[in-house]
């Protein structure tokens, strides 16, 4: 099993979730994060004090899937999250050694 971690633009969250549901992904976990990268941040002004905020709001999705589903998952995320503008985000894939469903204590792929 693999854990696919995607960092995407917040307003794309619903589309990505739907794209994943369509290819049969049944669960995922979302975290609000702040991203720092090539995409420029923004300025804020308060009574003559100017702050440059380098971090941009992003959401992180963690999706655990069977190893053979990884290409399809990556593909679905890319299609749904892409705007073509800088800052669209990244996908990271790591290996998952074990998965447990807490409710049933099932392990392995059937726990997903």
């Amino acid at each position: 099993m693999k854990l696919v971690i995607a960092i995407v633009k917040p307003f794309k969250l619903d589309e990505v979730r739907d794209a994943l549901a369509e290819i049969g992904v049944q669960g995922l976990t979302v975290t609000e994060v702040k991203g720092y990268g090539r995409q420029k941040g923004h300025k804020e002004h308060y009574r003559g004090a100017e702050y440059v905020v380098d971090f941009r709001p992003k959401v992180r999705l963690d999706v655990a899937v069977a190893a053979d589903r990884v290409p399809a998952v990556i593909d679905a995320i890319c299609r749904a999250a892409r705007t073509g503008k800088i800052g669209d985000g990244k996908i990271f894939v790591t290996n998952l050694e074990e998965v447990v469903r807490i409710r049933t204590a099932e392990t392995g792929p059937e726990a997903l």
Partner: protein, 434 residues
């Protein structure tokens, strides 16, 4: 006597006897003045921070400051406009029943000793100003989250000049509707019908928010909205009971009517939600309260307690269904439901005022028809003319104003701005950094 009557009488005399103005000083009643000073504070409080918080909580977090900004900027712009010529257009000497002259521009003649009724004219002018502020403030709920800030400013000046001032003159400044006997105690037509009609037109001209209605756009901070709602209720005491322009039994009865209608509106909307959706919500309760308040506004000085209860219940029922209809059936993105709550409520209340003012309805009796009107039928006829004329005029002029602004400098922000939020892009600020 209604506000229109009182005001007109006072102005008539002031105009007739300008040299005698100083001698009027004795006519100022300190108690009445105290109450209208207080009411002026209460009505300003309705907008700042009342309406600002009420509306601000309902939009998404990325646009909260844009709403607060618009409320403050509208207050500033309308206030200066009022001094320059807005007050005069509304309450200057009558030009053919249609609009006021420029004789009071720059508050000419509104000195320390000028009197209006039993209060200083300065106090009258400021009290009226607070109404002129909140009316365009209400409209911004329709185009929230997508209108350019510069367009909001242009809209405010043009709309105040071309819609608010003339309609105010028609009803309260000695114009044709007041002369005809229209009963509008505190602004059913002047404030709520104009705001509601303008909201409807604005929503249609500027178009839906990106994603409406599929993307959820829940209120980002209901505690702001509820805080603002409480302030609106309290401030409305000044709006309606202050419109008696005196601290007397008339003000007291207006207070009773206002409070009961708000309560009944809130409970009725709650009941409707409970029945239709299985659960009552706090947004529903406060919306029903606002509907009850908007609807009683024109009637507040003319009906009795039981009449007010009827009006509040009607407000809850009708505005609840209107809100669902506009959103679900018509699919119009009047973002903060200004038309179904204020517009529909204002029309309903103005019509019901014509019925429930009748002194011959037993326990539902009110305080009487307008001078020279003798039956419910005739009074309701006048009310209908008032509603129709105000609505029709506002729709047409608002449409023209919006189209003109769009042509000259654009109404709507671009897509990128809408996605990122108006706060950051237009104002370089964020609402929260918790």
């Amino acid at each position: 006597m209604s506000r229109a009557g009182k005001a007109a009488a006072a102005f008539g005399l002031v105009l007739a006897l300008p040299l005698a103005a100083r001698a009027w000083r004795g006519a100022v009643d300190s108690g009445d003045t105290a109450w209208i000073l207080t009411s002026t504070a209460l009505v300003l409080f309705m907008t700042l921070p009342g309406l600002a918080l009420f509306y601000g909580g309902l939009v998404r977090a990325k646009n909260v400051l844009s709403v607060l900004m618009q409320c403050f900027a509208i207050t500033g712009v309308v206030s200066v406009w009022w001094l320059l010529y807005g007050y005069s257009l509304s309450f200057g000497s009558d030009l053919g029943g249609v609009v006021g002259g420029l004789d009071k521009a720059l508050f000419a003649g509104v000195g320390v000793d000028a009197v209006s009724g039993t209060i200083p004219e300065t106090v009258f002018a400021l009290f009226q100003l607070t109404f002129a502020i909140i009316t365009p403030g209400l409209v911004l709920g329709a185009f929230a989250e997508r209108m350019k800030f510069s367009a909001v400013l242009w809209f405010t000046v043009l709309w105040a000049t071309l819609v608010y001032a003339p309609v105010t003159h028609w009803v309260w400044g000695g114009g044709w509707l007041g002369q005809m006997g229209l009963l509008d105690f505190a602004g059913g037509t002047v404030v709520h019908v104009t705001a509601g009609a303008a909201a409807l037109v604005s929503a249609l001209v500027i178009g839906k928010r990106r994603g409406f209605p599929d993307t959820p756009m829940p209120p980002h901070n209901m505690t702001l909205t509820v805080a603002g709602a409480g302030m609106l209720w309290v401030g409305w005491y000044g709006f309606n009971a202050g419109s008696a322009l005196a601290a007397d039994g008339g003000a007291g009865m207006a207070l009773v009517a206002t409070h009961l209608s708000a309560s009944a509106g809130a409970l009725t909307w709650m009941a409707c939600e409970w029945k239709k959706y299985g659960k009552p919500s706090v947004l529903g309760v406060v919306t029903g309260m606002v509907a009850g308040l908007g609807t009683i506004t024109p009637a507040s000085g003319f009906v009795g307690p039981a009449g007010a209860l009827v009006i509040g219940i009607a407000a809850g029922l009708v505005c609840f269904n209107a809100t669902n209809y506009v959103k679900q059936v018509l699919g119009i993105d009047d973002s903060l439901d200004v038309f179904p709550v204020h517009g529909v409520g204002g029309m309903l209340g103005t019509l019901l005022a014509g019925v429930l003012c009748s002194p011959a309805l037993g326990p539902l009796s009110g305080l009487g028809f307008a001078d020279g009107i003798g039956s419910i039928g005739r009074q309701v006829g006048v009310q209908a003319v008032g509603v129709g004329a105000t609505f029709g005029y506002t729709v047409v002029v608002t449409f023209v104003i919006l189209k003109a602004i769009d042509a000259v400098c654009g109404l709507r922000v671009d897509e990128e701005t809408e996605i990122q939020g108006l706060d950051l892009v237009l104002h370089e600020e964020r609402g929260y950094d918790l």
